[in-house]
């Protein structure tokens, strides 16, 4: 195995396309565990952290462009980001311990393609897009289109994510993310839920996106759940519909972390709780 830390995007693209089994490295909190356990045996590891733009958070078109190797801790410490996208920042800061948050990156959490990745439902709810670069050039994708199954992405050979874009927000918009774990920390989500919504001046919901993690082979954008909120004042009736839509969208498995029945049950509970927090945040804005 070889380790390289290129300083230009072109060099990184070339390296990743050069050998059979090449793996990009950002925070390494998933990759190193997989290496140690012999789950992956790459010939080449390409450290992306020295590439321009990979570790910065920049304001762009009223939104934020976040380098793929930016860590959860850096997201939390950014002065503006957490005010605009508190749910995304919360989600990224639920990944592992303090130690992990100092290393684990947003891009890595996405491209590791765990169905239970905490930041992904929050990013999907936020309507985030990713910029992908590779031998064929650059392309943009919605976050929900990146993972295709457990540990699998649509990235082609030599491609990697360079940044994630969080769009500008209309007034009275807010997001939130909650996950369910048996302990208070250090667990993988049994269910995760991201909600992002916008209210009009009367308090009616005009836009809503709801995403669920750990209830299918990848994180899901649940359009029906969002639709249940749109047009409502986020009252009990709307929440009833939200809960039903969230549960209906689940197609989980039984595994060591939770049962099907439990996950479906909890998905509804979390959808309501997360939407309630997002609504309170949106209402709290002037």
């Amino acid at each position: 195995m070889r380790y390289e830390a290129p300083e230009t995007i072109d060099a990184a693209v070339a390296l990743l396309g050069s050998v059979g089994r090449a793996r990009p490295l950002a925070g390494g909190t998933d990759l190193l565990v997989q290496l140690r356990a012999g789950i992956v045996e790459p010939d080449l590891i390409v450290d992306l952290k020295k590439l321009p733009g990979l570790r910065t958070i920049a304001k762009e078109k009223g939104g934020f462009r976040i380098g793929a190797a930016v860590t959860g801790a850096e997201l939390r410490e950014h002065p503006d980001l957490r005010k605009v996208w508190p749910g995304v920042v919360e989600a990224a800061n639920l990944i592992g311990s303090t130690q992990i948050q100092g290393r684990a990156s947003l891009g890595g959490n996405l491209c590791n393609a765990s169905p239970a990745a905490d930041s992904v439902p929050a990013l999907i709810a936020a309507g985030a897009t990713v910029t992908i670069i590779g031998p064929g050039g650059q392309r943009e994708l919605a976050v929900e289109a990146v993972a295709s199954g457990p540990g699998k992405t649509i990235l082609a050979k030599g491609e990697f994510v360079t940044s994630i874009f969080l769009p500008a927000r209309p007034p009275r918009s807010a997001d939130a993310y909650l996950r369910f774990i048996p302990r208070t920390e250090m667990d993988i989500a049994v269910v995760g839920c991201g909600v992002s919504l916008t209210l009009d001046q009367s308090g009616t919901c005009t836009a809503a996106r709801v995403a669920l993690g750990a209830v299918a082979e990848r994180a899901l954008l649940v359009a029906e759940a969002g639709a249940a909120l749109i047009g409502s004042k986020l009252d009990a009736a709307a929440f009833e519909k939200l809960i039903a839509a969230a549960r209906k969208a689940c197609r989980p498995i039984d595994d060591k972390r939770g049962t099907k029945v439990f996950r479906i049950d909890i998905a509804g509970v979390l959808a309501q709780r997360t939407a309630t927090i997002a609504a309170e945040r949106a209402r709290g804005q002037k």
Binding site: P182, R183, V269
Partner: protein
């Protein structure tokens, strides 16, 4: 000995060191990273040893081909079953334990069959970790995969796959004619069960199940072995008992004990799990073959796959009471999983089950059952937390049924001095009632509860043990003292020994340094476990100090040219007594030490004892929980541990034992379990999914140390390390039941199970 006023007999108020919270001799090294644990040792020319483990839960091993691995450059030795001699199936003494070496040799290295996923099949020593890993992949094992059985209840069925085709259940008359997975049946009884239940106004009978849980020590098993051409071996290892390691290794490798020197490294947690051998015989065998030092360290996955948790169990408990709250009869059936080889702690489970109560008519029947899991190892009060969990849940339910406060109900029936335990003897002075009274009066017990919260209490018992211990105490020329003991220090016992030595000698504890001696430097000392170290090695320490005092007095007598009988030892000084009193100024320990050479030579005291009279320890825990009614998640809001320590030698470390036991109990109660797939493979062999409590899962854990002295110990010490893990599971179960209005009878009480119980309760109109 009567001429020496003993510190231990002095009233409590006069103790100067015992009962204080001084620094620990090993503390500085542990906060600076200097302390060396099992994996921190290295030697020149050292090889890396790795183990090939069975991927199957149950498979016959038809053949092992090591030829390709042996030919790999850098591979220096390989061992398989062929390198270990077989042993007959019989229980023989190993130190103070009775062990079956037929089973131990098979657990160390699979023989006819691999009996669990992770069972060692071969081991390799190579010049690097990567070569060792490659060598393992080149060993070809021909397995015939067999049907497996994981759960004890299933293993007891007539059609279950048999692990050992020769196993005939012991303890049954007449002996069964067919083999089974039931190794043993046992029974404890007293009084007339039928008559007892006939007197009862209410009878509650419940079934319970618990899962195996791992001790979860953070330090993986590790050792470094070096064997020379003459067969002399040195072995550094992380263990609770280096003498026990020596005993086992000598037996398994057919070596004389004098040829094996075992050095106990600092130990990163054990809780009972480091009382057996896994890597040590393999490392010695590999070193013996290669004549190079071999270091072996388990990965965390290996720790979970192949080292012993404690048993999972299926239990039935039935208790009858009169309307006035008096228990009339109690009965239990306990089925404990032993893992792949017999020897679950069902015996102590039976004996402890009803120990906290005075019950005239009782019977407990236990079964020791094998299945395709790693062989269980001791885990804090082995056996007791399981059976007492079940009993304490039924006790709580009976209190509810009678409309009695659960502490009052326990006080009505609680064991006290003179109560006959189910297993026979009458208790001497014990502290159960004192812990219950303390619980009743503790502010926690009467604090208001919030919504969705419940409060539970439970009591617990553990025997505590004594046994063989040695201590050598050297008076150095400058008056400082070096104390050598043979029990590895797992949680601060060096500090406790220093305090007891200082108290007995009458000198400042700062001048006493305690060290753990290797197996060649002190006499046989049984392991640190059973809550025996502070008790038994403490007694040896006091005896060794007294032996030194006798010499010190004799030296003073020689200097003063008076009779030895006319010298007493007080406050660290020899003083002339009787008709010579005040004739000479007292001589301090340091003065006498300085003159030791001229008055007869160095002064040392030593003691080699088999300590008897261990004092049982009782505890009572109070816990508040809050249940999330929509998800079933349980939060521990407040926790109080009350326990009889006899005498807390170092209260800080006694509290630490209470708190640590409670925290492990919280994990056992709420989330820890082994999750097996249909293929018999463990799915959560790592900290991530085994889910031990983390810092944010717990509140502060309040402690109350009750001190009812143990008359057999010079300072009144009872062991404290094990009882704290006995009450938590029932206390939490009782708290949850009071929060949600229905009872769970299965551990762990993880969110899906709690949610399901609440939903069922609601569906039934609850």
């Amino acid at each position: 000995m009567n001429d020496i006023p003993l510190a231990g007999t002095a009233p409590k108020a006069e103790l100067k060191w015992v009962g204080t919270r001084g620094p620990r001799p090993d503390g500085l090294d542990k906060v600076t990273g200097r302390a060396r644990y099992g994996a921190d040792f290295r030697l020149p020319g050292m090889l890396v040893g790795r183990v090939l483990r069975s991927p199957h839960a149950h498979a016959r091993i038809r053949g092992i081909d090591i030829s390709k691995a042996a030919a790999l450059p850098g591979v220096k030795a390989i061992v398989t079953r062929d390198d270990f001699r077989d042993m007959p199936s019989e229980f023989v003494p190993a130190g103070e334990m009775m062990v079956n070496y037929r089973d131990i040799v098979r657990n160390v290295m699979a023989r006819e069959k691999a009996l669990y996923e992770g069972h060692p099949v071969a081991a390799v020593a190579a010049t690097s970790a990567s070569i060792a890993r490659e060598a393992l992949s080149l060993i070809k094992v021909d397995y015939e995969v067999l049907p497996h059985v994981i759960d004890a209840a299933e293993a007891m069925r007539a059609d279950a796959p048999l692990l050992d085709e020769t196993m005939i259940t012991a303890g049954v008359d007449p002996a069964p004619t067919k083999p089974s997975n039931v190794a043993k049946r046992m029974e404890f009884s007293t009084g007339d069960l039928k008559a007892g239940f006939a007197q009862a106004d209410f009878v509650i009978e419940r079934s319970f199940a618990t899962k195996p849980v791992h001790q979860g020590y953070l330090e993986p098993h590790a050792c470094l072995a070096s064997v020379n051409e003459a067969g002399q071996a040195e072995l550094w290892c992380t263990t609770q008992g280096h003498f026990v390691v020596r005993t086992h290794c000598a037996k398994l490798l057919d070596m004389e004990m004098s040829q094996i020197r075992v050095i106990a490294t600092e130990i990163g947690g054990g809780f009972g799990g480091k009382t057996v051998v896994y890597l040590e015989p393999l490392a010695l065998a590999l070193s013996s073959k290669s004549k190079r030092p071999v270091k072996m360290v388990m990965t965390r996955e290996e720790v979970f796959l192949s080292t012993g948790p404690t048993s999972g169990a299926h239990m039935k408990v039935k208790i009858g009471v009169r309307k006035d709250g008096k228990i009339t009869a109690a009965e239990a059936e306990l089925i404990y999983e032993a893992g792949a080889f017999q020897g679950s702690p069902v015996g102590p489970g039976c004996m402890c089950a009803f120990a906290p109560y005075e019950i005239e008519n009782a019977r407990v029947i236990g079964y020791d059952v094998i299945s395709n899991r790693p062989k269980v190892a001791a885990y804090r009060a082995p056996g007791a937390p399981i059976s007492e969990y079940a009993v304490e849940c039924v006790i709580d339910e009976l209190a509810q049924k009678l409309g009695l406060d659960p502490v009052e109900f326990r006080l009505k029936n609680g064991a006290k001095a003179g109560t006959r335990a189910l297993y026979g003897p009458k208790f001497g002075p014990i502290g159960l009632v004192a812990t219950l009274e303390a619980a009743k009066n503790h502010p926690h017990y009467s604090a208001p509860l919030g919504p969705n919260q419940g409060r539970g209490v439970a009591s617990g018992f553990w025997f505590n043990i004594g046994g063989e211990s040695c201590a050598s105490l050297h008076i150095n020329e400058d008056g400082s003292v070096t104390l050598m003991i043979g029990t590895p220090d797992i949680g601060g016992s060096r500090a406790s020994m220093a305090l007891m030595a200082a108290e007995t000698l009458g000198i400042d504890v700062a001048h006493v340094r305690t060290l753990i001696a290797d197996t060649d430097s002190i006499g046989y000392t049984f392991l640190t476990g059973g809550s025996r170290a502070t008790f038994a090695t403490g007694m040896a320490t006091v005896d060794a100090a007294k032996a030194a005092i006798r010499q010190l007095c004799a030296r003073a007598a020689k200097i003063w040219e008076i009779s030895e009988d006319a010298v007493v030892w007080e406050d660290g000084h020899a003083k002339p007594a009787g008709q010579n009193a005040a004739t000479f100024p007292p001589m301090s320990l340091a003065e006498l030490a300085g003159k030791a050479g001229k008055t007869g030579g160095p002064i040392s005291g030593h003691a080699e004892i088999n300590a008897q009279g261990a004092g049982p320890s009782f505890g009572t825990h109070i816990v508040d929980v809050e249940v999330d009614k929509e998800t079933g998640r349980v939060d521990i809001k407040r926790y109080t541990v009350i326990q009889d320590a006899g005498k807390a030698v170092h209260p800080g470390y006694v509290e630490g034992q209470f708190q640590g036991g409670a925290a492990q109990g919280v994990g056992w109660a709420l989330n820890e379990e082994y999750v097996y797939g249909a293929d018999g493979k463990l799915q959560n062999a790592g900290f991530l999914d085994y889910r031990m409590p983390v810092t944010s899962d717990l509140p502060m854990i309040d402690t109350v140390i009750v001190e009812i002295p143990n008359p057999a110990h010079p300072f009144g010490v009872r062991g404290v390390g094990e009882t704290p893990i006995v009450p938590p599971m029932a206390a939490i179960a009782n708290a949850i039941s009071r929060a949600i209005g229905t009872r769970l009878c299965e551990l762990p009480m993880s969110p899906p199970k709690v949610l399901k119980a609440m939903q069922a309760h609601k569906a039934n109109g609850g």
